[in-house]
Assembly symmetry: C2
Homo-oligomer: 186 residues x 2
C-alpha cells in the first residue's frame, strides 16, 4: 500500500508525554498498514547525536539531524514520527521548510503540572537549581506559534490526545479515515 | 510500485569513483521506478557528521551514522546508496549485521592509478607527506574480504562497472531484470 509520507513532529517539555504518544501513534499507524519510523530521543542520541550536549548549538544540531533523517523517510512514503524536545521555534521552522509534508504537534503541559508528576525527579532537582540547561526551568522552551495540533496532556488522557492527532491527520487526508466499527460486516 | 529495499554500500579510496558510480546508479534506479536515496559523502558530512574529523573513532562514527540512516531507509522499501570511503572492515561489517539486505561494492583502484589521475592533486600532496590521515597513503584502507561485487575502476569504464553492479542485483533479485531492448515492441 504505497501512501504519502509525512513527518509528525512532536515538540514539548521533558515528561510532557511525547514519547508515550509517539509509541502509541507508531503502533496505530502500523496496525493501519502504514510504513512508520519513530525517531525517539534516546535512539537518536545514540545513533545520530552521541557527543552532543545541551547548549543551544548542540540542541539545534540534534534537531537538524533528526529533521534531515525524517525528511528522507517522509519523501519516501514513510510516516516519520519524532519526539525530541526541540525547544527552539526557529530551528523547528527551519526543519519544516525542508519538508513538503510536515505536521507539528505541540505536546503541551505546564511546568507546574510536570513538576507535580515528576516521574524521574528531574523537575524537583531542576527547580532546586541543580540541573543547568533544563528545558522549561533553566533553559528556554519556545512554544510553537501555529502548530497543526495541540494536545494538553495535563488534562487529557493519552487516548484523547491520540484521537485529536489522528482526527487531524484523517481530516487533512494524511491518513485514511478508519471505517466505523462494524461497517465491514454490513 | 512497492519493492524490497536494500543498502548498496560503496567502499573504496578517495577518487576511485564511488560518487560517480553512486550518482549513475541512483539515476538508473529512479528511471526504473525504484525509490532511491543517495547518501553521498558531502551531504552526510553536512547534515549528519559536521564536526567529525578523520581519526579512526570519528570515521567510525560517520560510517555508523550513515549505516543507521541507510538501514531505516532500506527497511522501508528504499534503495539506499552510500558512497563513503568507510576504510575499516570491522565497522563496515558491523553496519552489515544491522541490515537484512546489504550489498557491499568494493570500488577498487590502486593508489598508483589514483595518484596518476589525481584530479584534485590530493594524492600528490598526501604522498609528499603533506596530508595526515589520508586513506590509502597515510591512513589505512582495509579492503573488503568478501564483497558482493568488486569493480575495477582503473581498468573498466564507468558503464562497465555500472553493468557489473546492475547484473549482480538483477541476478540476486534485488531489482527486476530489464526487459531486453525492443522487447516492448514485439
Amino acid at each position: 500500500m504505497p501512501h504519502k509520507g509525512f513527518t509528525l513532529w512532536l515538540t514539548g517539555l521533558s515528561g510532557a508525554g511525547k514519547s508515550t504518544l509517539a509509541h502509541r501513534l507508531a503502533r496505530e499507524f502500523r496496525e493501519r498498514g502504514y510504513r512508520t519510523e519513530l525517531l525517539d530521543g534516546d535512539e537518536v542520541r545514540t545513533h545520530l547525536s552521541a557527543g552532543l550536549g545541551f547548549s543551544r548549538q548542540d540542541r539545534d544540531t540534534n534537531v537538524r539531524r533528526i529533521g534531515f533523517v525524517a525528511k528522507l523517510l517522509a519523501r519516501n512514503g514513510v510516516i516519520a514520527i519524532t519526539a525530541a524536545i526541540s525547544p527552539y521555534r526557529d530551528t523547528r521552522n527551519e526543519v519544516r521548510r525542508e519538508h513538503r509534508d510536515f505536521v507539528e504537534v505541540f505536546v503541551d503541559a505546564p511546568v507546574a503540572a510536570l513538576a507535580e508528576r515528576d516521574v524521574k525527579g528531574l523537575y524537583r532537582r531542576a527547580l532546586a537549581g541543580q540541573i543547568p540547561n533544563f528545558t522549561g526551568v533553566s533553559d528556554p522552551y519556545e512554544a510553537p506559534a501555529n502548530p497543526e495540533v495541540t494536545v494538553h496532556t495535563d488534562r487529557e488522557t493519552v487516548d484523547e490526545s491520540l484521537d485529536a492527532i489522528l482526527t487531524y491527520l484523517e481530516d487533512k487526508g494524511f491518513i485514511d479515515a478508519e471505517a466505523p466499527v462494524g461497517a465491514g460486516g454490513l
